[in-house]
């Protein structure tokens, strides 16, 4: 016996994992930005790359899901920012500005996508709006021959002919379209239904139909067809086509409360008109995006709420008398918005030189004979020749999708994946979205309060919503990586049992020793870790 008893063996034989009643694991929650992005962008992913000053990689990751970042960085309604958990801490991240910067960087550096050789398969894409562009681009990237048809001279659809230049610079658009259409055979001025029809496309292996929704709804009132009463969308198209449209000292009334109405009103104002927007409900019910409404209100444009046109008359001097009802809100409609009701005896008259109707748009069904809507809102394709129908795919605003650019882009990209699978003869499965997003209750704010995190970035000249590269990196540094591990070592450092193991790209619990105390999950800054079967949810 030694003078002192000595322990020479270690304790690792003692597998304390057997004490455990709950186990740490990944919760699999999505960051709110990724969760809410209609285009399916991995926003958290490219913010992380920006943080590491890897803008080329950020561009690559972003354009895997959205080929139009410079466009979307300008026109998207950025739902990515709505639920940003940074809201509960200081202010949300300016994700849209970061996206725009990455997109512009791609444009400035004239980046091209490396395209594979095309194979034998050929796909026709009809409609060069956001959905058609995305579908054509991703199919071409997949090695498919793509022929794209559009009734207009320029590709872009609503991006070129609908969105005003003060919201989307034409040079940026054209530069981005050039990249997106690289390798795609674009056939301009080809209108489906008049210049060609679906039957002539039988030699294609698949056909993607994305002709959008650009037929203005008619107001269906007396005088709705008078000269001087015009579709707002047609007006935007004329302006965006470069036609000289003059409205100096004219009085314009815009009917409607959607995004088109906002664009029409602001465009008319820029052309010299005095503008009044008449909407039959209140600001709360306006279908336009909140930001567009704010911008509309910031301009010297008159807004008349709870007003609906009853009839329009032409005066002898050619001017228009718009006789309107005052309205009040009644019971909610099926869509949840309260129905406007006429208040009797409140009619009044507005005088205008031009009236623009912007009360919504419908898809153009004249493109194929027999095309109608089924009762559930989807298109009834039963009258289409079966040889075409079997390889026909639809996308964009022709479907009952939310009518936004990112939704259309996603619809085009998903269609490209679906068509690619169809061409290979394999079944297509839509990737399932995790059901939950990481909310503020998942975030350990105390961690972010302690690390020296950048202040909300601003551009050098102070323009709201615009960042330079350094500013975008600062902004990316504010990201809290909600629900996604960012390898901060918090779980590793705080484990009393050293039972968290670093693995490439993250951590794993060593279940031989993890006692299930739950400190790792409680302290995880981003809410990535959770406990299963125990007290920490």
């Amino acid at each position: 016996m030694p003078e002192l008893p000595v322990s020479l063996a270690r304790m690792s034989w003692n597998k304390t994992g057997s004490w455990r009643s709950s186990t740490p694991g990944h919760r699999g929650k999505l960051p709110p930005c990724n969760f809410n992005c209609p285009a399916g962008e991995n926003i958290r992913g490219y913010l992380d790359l920006m943080k590491k000053d890897q803008i080329a990689e950020a561009f690559e990751l972003l354009t895997q899901k959205n080929p139009l970042p410079a466009v979307c960085g300008r026109v998207c309604y950025h739902p990515c920012q709505t639920d940003c958990n940074r809201h509960s801490f200081d202010t949300e991240l300016q994700i849209r500005a970061v996206e725009m910067l990455i997109g512009d960087w791609g444009v400035q550096n004239k980046l091209r996508v490396r395209l594979p050789e095309t194979g034998a398969k050929k796909v026709a894409v009809i409609g060069a709006g956001p959905a058609g562009l995305a579908a054509a681009h991703y199919l071409r990237r997949d090695g498919v021959n793509v022929v794209m048809y559009d009734e207009n001279h320029h590709p872009g659809g609503i991006l070129h002919y609908g969105i005003p230049t003060y919201r989307l610079d034409k040079e940026i658009l054209q530069a981005e379209l050039k990249r997106v259409l690289d390798g795609v055979d674009f056939k301009a001025n080809m209108r489906l239904g008049s210049d060609f029809d679906l039957g002539t496309l039988n030699h294609f292996d698949a056909v993607f139909l994305a002709t959008g929704a650009h037929v203005s709804k008619s107001m269906r009132i007396d005088g709705g067809d008078l000269a001087g009463v015009e579709s707002g969308l047609d007006f935007l198209k004329r302006v965006n086509s470069g036609q000289k449209v003059r409205l100096d000292n004219k009085q314009v009334v815009v009917i409607g409360g959607g995004n088109t109405a906002c664009d029409v009103a602001r465009t008319a104002y820029r052309l010299g008109a005095g503008v009044t927007v008449a909407y039959r409900r209140t600001e709360n019910e306006m279908p336009a995006f909140a930001e567009e409404v704010e911008q509309l209100k910031a301009e010297p444009i008159e807004l008349e709420f709870l007003v609906a046109p009853a009839r329009i008359q032409q005066e002898t001097d050619g001017r228009l008398k718009v006789i309107c009802h005052r309205m009040e809100l009644g019971e909610p409609d099926p869509d949840g918005r309260r129905r406007p009701m006429v208040i009797d005896g409140t009619d009044f008259t507005m005088t205008a030189d031009v009236v623009f109707a912007a009360i919504g748009e419908d898809p153009d069904l004249d493109i194929a004979p027999g095309l109608t809507y089924a009762s559930d809102g989807t298109l009834d394709l039963s009258q289409i020749d079966q040889r075409i129908r079997d390889k026909l795919f639809l996308g964009g605003d022709i479907l009952p999708n939310p009518r936004t650019v990112p939704h259309a882009v996603a619809s085009g990209r998903v269609a490209a994946e679906e068509i690619a699978a169809f061409l290979k003869g394999v079944p297509y499965e839509r990737p399932e979205k995790p059901a939950e997003m990481a909310g503020p209750e998942d975030i350990n704010f105390s961690y972010f309060a302690r690390i020296n995190i950048a202040k909300r970035a601003a551009s050098s000249d102070g323009t709201e919503g615009v960042l330079d590269e350094a500013g975008a990196i600062d902004e990316a540094n504010r990201c809290m990586s909600c629900g996604v591990c960012f390898e901060c070592d918090t779980c590793y450092d705080f484990c009393p049992d050293l039972a968290i193991v670093r693995t490439p790209g993250g951590y794993q619990a060593n279940l031989d020793y993890c006692k299930g105390c739950g400190i790792c999950a409680r302290e995880c800054p981003s809410g990535t870790l959770g406990m299963q079967g125990g007290q920490v949810a």
Partner: protein, 299 residues
């Protein structure tokens, strides 16, 4: 997370299988302190949670020599080990006493005061879980006022305030006194680095959450430690030569009640007692702040 060196001494030396309770603060502290001190270390430990949970004979968690000594003899034994090492020419080895609050505030106080007065070249670390947790949660002189323990039950909560061990040790004019918390690991490791580099007696007082003794959720150990610092119940500071005091963390002045409410041991406290604790905390923090400001002028 930080720019500090990658401390992986324990992780690369089979530091697994100890028998501490889930969520134990002491084992988090022990691992990070050893990570900084490295292999050239001897640990001297009296009876206490750490000694019991280090392993069952003949096994030990520690990747360095770990000497178990009598409860009251920690400081003397550490001084003895130091003398032995010095005589065999191993002055580079750090001797660390690793003792709980019972062995430090109560039972080992005399020996500790003696080595402090002699300024022995020892790093004395007290992991403070504010009672004799290992033997069944009996109160110690580190237990705060108004706290439940098995010897201060709900009908007679502890009525005496916690002993200010840091002031006592600083009053010995030893080279270095520091407080640290497992919730602030960068601060903790920086202080251990500083202590390691200093010769003479260095005293570190570490806040050590104890889920069974504090009647708290094991998952909350770090949250509680953080709130103790943020509420100024356990401020982070260091004192050089018993004079210059430096607060090492600017707390965000969380209410003491936020700290109390996560722990069952405080649930019998009356509102008045909680308010008294809040004002006592404010007073002692104000005094620390004053010394911090004055020390800045002295520098």
């Amino acid at each position: 997370m930080s720019d500090t060196p990658d401390y992986d001494f324990c992780a690369s030396h089979d530091f697994y299988g100890h028998t501490a309770c889930p969520g134990c603060g002491e084992k988090i502290l022990y691992r990070h302190v050893l990570d900084v001190l490295g292999p050239e270390t001897v640990v001297v430990a009296p009876a206490g949670c750490a000694a019991v949970t280090d392993g069952v004979f003949p096994h030990s968690l520690s990747p360095v020599p770990y000497l178990h000594v009598a409860f009251g003899a920690t400081a003397s034994a550490a001084a003895g080990v130091r003398a032995g090492l010095d005589m065999s020419g191993r002055e580079n080895v750090t001797v660390m006493a690793w003792a709980g609050d019972g062995a430090t505030f109560d039972i080992g106080m005399g020996a500790l005061s003696a080595i402090a007065e002699r300024n022995e070249n020892v790093l004395y670390v007290c992991y403070d879980n504010e009672a004799y947790m290992n033997t069944g949660m009996q109160r110690s002189s580190a237990t705060p006022r108004g706290c439940w323990t098995t010897t201060t039950p709900a009908s007679r909560l502890k009525s005496e305030p916690k002993k200010d061990i840091d002031a006592i040790m600083a009053a010995h004019r030893i080279p270095y006194v520091a407080t640290a918390s497992p919730a602030f690991l960068d601060d903790l490791k920086a202080k251990v680095e500083r202590a390691k580099a200093i010769r003479g007696l260095r005293f570190m007082h570490l806040f050590s959450p104890c889920p069974p003794g504090w009647k708290s959720d094991p998952a909350d150990s770090i949250t509680i430690a953080r709130l103790a610092v943020e509420s100024n119940v356990f401020p982070l500071y260091e004192v050089y030569e018993g004079e210059r005091l430096r607060l090492t963390y600017q707390s965000s002045s969380v209410a003491v009640s936020d700290y109390l409410k996560l722990q069952g041991r405080f649930k019998y406290m009356s509102e008045q007692e909680a308010e008294d604790m809040q004002s006592a905390v404010e007073r002692s923090y104000a005094a620390l702040k004053l010394r911090h400001e004055k020390s800045k002028v002295c520098l």
